[in-house]
């Protein structure tokens, strides 16, 4: 199996603070980590490789410093890494990000593409499915278990609000994964040594044959007007007691407010 994992470097959420004036994240001095969901994507890819042989390539679009995320991925068992870095990519929204990733993936022609469910900073959970659309291949989001992988198909469990679906898909397929899927391993010493020496390929918009008007700010229809933390709603009241007592109190309240 030839597998591509999409990873994103994000600020370590445990250490992030928000600038109260602008409402934006203060990124300076905050350590960067691999998006936690992407750690599960890497683990899944490496496990598939260990079972079926093949190759795992990690790709990320980001600034030059994102190279460290790729080296960390290699220490966890990833074979090759590509950094998509170009001034032209700056300011990408999810559409431009997905376009850029999909142009790269086309060049690698993998059997399986694995993304995290969502990035803990951007949080949209859009990139995985959008990449699949650009590639015109099926995708399964929220994968919590990989049941079986055949020559031409895959069967997985998709996490639902209650229970799960069993989904079968043809290959190539794109999966986005949740934490229930596996427990990411710690790096190995041989992996760390390989990571130190590894050559990280750096690809630009020209290398992936991307259309300039579709990448970066130019390719991003999303326009950010303002970022803010919503005011917490103030007049809330918690009802206590048994479910019966709570429903009684709720009905009484609603009648008081003339909602019923």
């Amino acid at each position: 199996m030839n597998i591509v994992v999409c990873i994103k470097q994000v600020p370590d959420a445990a250490e992030v603070k928000i600038n109260p004036e602008t409402g934006t994240l203060i990124r300076e001095g905050v350590p960067s980590i691999i998006n936690p969901y992407d750690m599960h994507a890497i683990e899944a890819a490496v496990q598939i490789k260990e079972k079926t042989s093949g190759k795992v390539t990690a790709i990320t679009m980001g600034p030059p410093q994102a190279e460290t995320a790729l080296r960390d991925a290699i220490s966890l068992g990833v074979d090759e890494a590509i950094l998509l870095t170009d001034k032209a990519f700056a300011g990408s929204d999810t559409l431009a990000t997905s376009y850029t990733l999909s142009k790269t993936i086309e060049k690698l022609s993998p059997d399986i593409i694995i993304c995290g469910k969502q990035a803990i900073d951007g949080d949209t959970a859009q990139v995985g499915p959008e990449v699949a659309e650009f590639l015109n291949i099926p995708h399964v989001a929220y994968v919590r278990k990989i049941e079986d992988i055949g020559e031409k198909s895959i069967r997985v469990q998709r996490l639902m609000e209650e229970g799960y679906d069993v989904v079968e898909s043809t290959l190539p397929v794109l999966l986005t994964v949740v934490k229930e899927l596996n427990e990411p391993r710690l790096p190995s010493l041989k992996g760390k040594m390989a990571a130190k020496k590894a050559e990280i390929k750096k690809w630009t918009a020209a290398d992936i044959g991307a259309d300039e008007k579709d990448v970066g700010l130019k390719g991003s229809p999303t326009q950010v007007k303002n970022i803010f933390a919503p005011e917490p709603k103030k007049d809330r009241q918690m009802l206590e007691g048994t479910p019966e007592e709570q429903t009684d109190a709720l009905i009484k309240k609603l009648m008081e407010l003339k909602c019923l």
Binding site: R185, L186, P187, S188, L189, K190, M193, K196
Partner: protein, 385 residues
Amino acid sequence: MDYFLTEEQVMIRDLARQIAEEKIVPQREELDEKEEFPWDIMKVLAQSDMFGLFIPEEYGGLGKGCLELAIAVEELSRACLGVSTTYAANALGTYPLLLYGSEEQKKKYLPDIAAGKKLVAFGLTEANAGSDAAGIQTTAKLEGNEYVLNGTKQWITNGGEAEIYTIIAMTDKSKGARGASAFIVEKGTPGFSFGKKEKKMGIRASTTRELIFENCRIPKENIIGREGMGFIVAMKTLDNSRVGVGAQGVGVAQGAFDEAVKFARQRVQFGHPIISFQAIQHMLADMATQIEAARALVYSVARYIDSGAKDISKASAMAKLFATDMAMKVTVDAVQVMGGSGYMREYPVEKMMRDAKILQIYEGTNQIQRNVIGQALIKEAAKKK
């Protein structure tokens, strides 16, 4: 202190520390309570290549030496000595093969050991042969193409859990110490069984069992080195591994010290954090100084061994003696700094103190280390004349 570790040594330390903090610390209390063998953690260590650290690259290892092993052992010991004993005893059992094994034996066993697929144990001690290792009574008799083993080994770390055992037995009792030989015995060999699991004061995650040999037949090729070399194999093995026991001492002491400092900053009595009292500061200052002195000695001796030095008995005995006496003192003092809280199982230092005691006993008691150093001094003095 900066010990001018190489980039790779720092990498080994950081990864061992990450394993200790993320995988061992959350489990150590339960492992101690339940006296449970830490298989989960052994799997993590295997996956991280930690078992291959000191095994040459041609057998699937990383080809590092005593210093790298000591660094890893120190970090694991900082979290739990029971776990680090399991890991370090594996190295102890592997040294006979590394130092004296034939090419075929190395090819057969070392790759699985390096990958952490098979654990190893070292069997020397018997009921009547502790400090006086020459008193062993287990015999190995050559019959055709096989050696037949009879006897019982006592208090063997990793006994029952390990797949590979390096065993010292008498091939010729009439020759005394020169009549001992070293062997490889695999788990599952008919006639090889295990006795009861011992209940211990500390290092309770580590398993200690009897090894019982009743007409246990092993192939003749399983002898390590030649007949009669058993004691040389055992002594050289211990010379190499003792510095690792020293590293265990440094690690457990550092772990206890860190807890004591954290506590002393938070605990308020007489209106002040107890760390502001000079009596507490002086205890902590002594502890910190002793730990650093022991670490410096352990690292120096490990580097000395890695330099290929021939006569390492005295140096490695010094490292073990100093660092483990230090560990006992520092862990006792850590409990003292923390008062009643230190005595409670809610905090990890009482366990560290119970655990530390073993370091003064196994791989040669600290009295025996002093004997080794003393004998070396006599030899050196005689040479000078």
